[in-house]
């Protein structure tokens, strides 16, 4: 369980990234922080592994203030996946995945063997292990990023727009893969994105943020879609946009879902 207790972050130049934010992330759940740029969502994420120190409030993991933990060992115990992979370009794929176990003193041989298993687990061919990151596609790089984050078997996974840099088709594949992994692994995942559809697809709980990380609405995808709390949320999820407002239409005995332009988008069963 991760708890944000009225955390805020103000920089020396007086800009406020996070005003006063509280949230409980239950264990084994995916909580998605969604907001546009400047909403402070990445700042919040980085408070968990102390890459950003809050100027007020505190972050607790299983009841323990992260500030009482050594930042380096804390980070090794938390998986982190970032946009563009952040893979080390001078290490091959297996070495990248084995980074944290090796930092923790696991033997090279054991870390390597474990890395190969992890590659398979995230849907990559083992034979890719000798390649350098630049020799993989964007989607493959992100899978390696996920494998690396899982390598030390952390309880917590922080994901900072991990699929933001790949094309929509690959993004869907990666999202499906993440959901599949989560049913197997049951990690506590904090996921940051600006894509509301991604948030709705992945989240057990969605937190819609406005500027300075003010919570506009919090709830399941269905709750938010059914009852947007205010205009900001309505606007953000595009409830009034033509492709969100669906109606049904009977065609040859089938019930089609159509958007407000009359374009068919799905089939009701």
């Amino acid at each position: 369980m991760i708890e944000f207790e009225t955390v805020s972050k103000t920089y020396p130049d007086k800009t406020t990234a996070v005003a006063s934010f509280s949230l409980v992330v239950p264990s084994h759940r995916i909580v998605v922080l969604v907001g546009s740029s400047g909403s402070g969502k990445t700042t919040l994420l980085r408070m968990v592994n102390r890459m950003v120190e809050p100027t007020a409030g505190r972050v607790l993991i299983d009841g323990e203030d992260v500030r009482d933990r050594n930042s380096v060992t804390l980070r090794r115990s938390i998986g982190y996946v970032m946009q563009q992979g952040g893979l080390l370009p001078h290490r091959n794929i297996a070495e990248n995945v084995a980074t944290v176990p090796m930092l923790n003193g696991v033997s090279r041989r054991q870390a390597r063997a474990q890395a190969l298993d992890l590659l398979e687990r995230v849907g990559l061919d083992k034979s890719l292990w000798r390649r350098f990151p630049s020799q993989l596609s964007g989607g493959q790089q992100q899978r390696v990023g996920v494998a690396r984050a899982l390598a030390a078997d952390p309880n917590i996974l922080l994901m900072d727009e991990p699929f933001g840099a790949v094309d929509p088709i690959v993004r869907r594949e990666l999202q499906d893969e993440l959901l599949r992994l989560q049913t197997e692994l049951g990690k506590t995942i904090v996921f940051v994105t600006h894509d509301i559809n991604e948030a709705f697809r992945l989240a057990d709980e969605v937190v819609v943020l406005r500027e300075q990380a003010i919570v506009a609405q919090q709830g399941t995808a269905a709750e938010i879609m059914a009852a947007p709390a205010n205009d900001f949320v309505r606007n953000f999820i595009g409830t009034e946009a033509a492709d969100r407002v669906l109606s049904t239409q009977q065609v040859n005995g089938k019930t089609l879902a159509v958007d407000s332009y009359g374009r068919p988008v799905g089939l009701l069963q």
Partner: protein, 221 residues
């Protein structure tokens, strides 16, 4: 050619002397300039004055610098120490900027993710920043190696032994072959060191060749 045939033992001897001055200076330059370049990038407030100092040091002409170093440090003008100190100053002045550029070019995402994985600052320097800066560092070290070898010849003017001796001695005695030998030997030595540094750099950075030679399968942007 005749001159060279008659004098090649001396050529070898002076090549040795030349290397004995160049190699320590090149190594010292690397050892001093790389940490300074790193500091210049990591501590922004320190960066500007450091790089300005490097530019000014490099602007000082070599012969006067030799004389001043001898005077200030109390070395004998003809000692190898004077020569190596001057060469190191130039080497550092040349390399600091390149080193700073090299460290500056390390992808912020890569650094961040290394921090997120729990690398300590020292480990990040040795395992992330330093290896990733190697290609740029190598290009700078090649420049330092070549210009150091060329600069050592100036030592002949103050009586430090090296290939420059052929230049001054040949000039005073009017032997064209001797001057040409000195010049070509110095150029060849510079070329040799350059090639060695280049080859060493290639061997150290297998991931760079991969990027150069293979089309990317997909680009994450």
């Amino acid at each position: 050619m005749t001159w060279l045939r008659l004098n090649w033992p001396q050529v070898l001897q002076l090549v040795g002397d030349h290397l004995a001055l160049s190699l320590p200076a090149i190594l010292l330059s690397i050892l001093i300039a790389v940490p300074i370049g790193y500091l210049a990038v990591r501590l922004r407030w320190l960066g500007k004055p450091l790089l300005l100092t490097a530019t000014l040091l490099y602007a000082i002409p070599a012969l006067p610098l030799l004389i001043i170093i001898a005077a200030v440090f109390g070395f004998s003008l003809r000692s190898p120490e004077t020569m190596i100190a001057a060469l190191t100053i130039y080497g550092v002045a040349l390399l600091v900027r390149t080193a700073a550029d090299g460290f500056d070019a390390v992808d912020g995402f890569v650094r961040d993710s290394a921090i997120a994985l729990g690398h300590s600052p020292l480990v990040i320097f040795f395992k992330v920043d330093l290896p990733l800066a190697v290609p740029v560092l190598i290009s700078g070290i090649r420049v330092v190696a070549v210009s150091t070898v060329s600069l050592v010849t100036i030592g002949a003017l103050i009586g430090v032994s090296g290939l420059g001796f052929f230049l001054t001695d040949g000039f005073q005695r009017g032997i064209l072959g001797e001057v040409v030998t000195g010049l070509l030997a110095s150029v060849a030595l510079a070329g040799l060191l350059d090639a060695l540094v280049f080859a060493g750099g290639r061997a150290m950075t297998p991931w760079v060749r991969v990027v150069d030679s293979q089309p990317k399968l997909g680009v994450a942007k």
